[in-house]
Symmetry: C2
Subunit: 163 residues, 2 copies
Amino acid sequence: MTQMEAEHYKFGPYKIDPSEVFFSTKFSYALVNLRPLVPGNFIHVLVCPRRGVKRFVDLTADETSDLWCVAQKIGGQLESYHNASSLTFAIQDGPQAGQTVPHVHIHIMPRKSGDFERNDEIYDALDKKEKELKQSLDLDKERKDRTPDEMSQEAAEYRKLFM
Amino acid sequence: MTQMEAEHYKFGPYKIDPSEVFFSTKFSYALVNLRPLVPGNFIHVLVCPRRGVKRFVDLTADETSDLWCVAQKIGGQLESYHNASSLTFAIQDGPQAGQTVPHVHIHIMPRKSGDFERNDEIYDALDKKEKELKQSLDLDKERKDRTPDEMSQEAAEYRKLFM
């Protein structure tokens, strides 16, 4: 068991299985997403501060810097690993921006030409299952859960990129 | 004329009038947006590195840290100034993610309950004018230009927040 695997991670109220974490620093960690977007092979990972703060403004300068240096590194590696050509980075910072888990997190999504017919459909896809909700919740919202095995496997692949 | 007003700013190929810049540091600057979103009073500003690099991965660690510490500060001030309750932060990093100006920039949008009926409509609004384009360009795309006066006035208001 590596050190990373022995550690514990919290994401808001949720305990994150270390097998789903593929990169971490003193201040931040990166995890695969329980509910990736449709289409099914669309990649979508999260980067969080280790400290469970709700709003971006509550991070210290060290946490903010580390979080985004980690996001930069992960974005670069995943774009290349998935033969993508662009990246979407987003923070939904607070409930009115679509945040559902009260723990700051960056969404990172490698993008390719034609991954969504119109670029905006990435957001429609995020919303597909809750058209009926008045305030739909984009990137954080309920989608089909993957199995722990699927998630561990993806994280294991990504972990190798940072060795 | 303050020091900020005497400086020159470039945003990709465009020269930015200093009256549209409301905050700057050694590495970064913040500007009001030429084409804010509909509905009309929706707030939408940009934060850029001073160095005109295209992709987020090309920023140095100092530039990355400064850019996001500036975004954090500006987000906090604008959320409070506009009586908002959340923030959307996004980077469209590369053409396939909707980037049209080849210069890294963070979109910051203070959000309120009900600002869009469904949270995702923020993206539909961004896209409204180019449904016909196969690859629509979200946050960067053509919208109605504001006058230089309108922009200077908004920037002047914001500049006071950081004095």
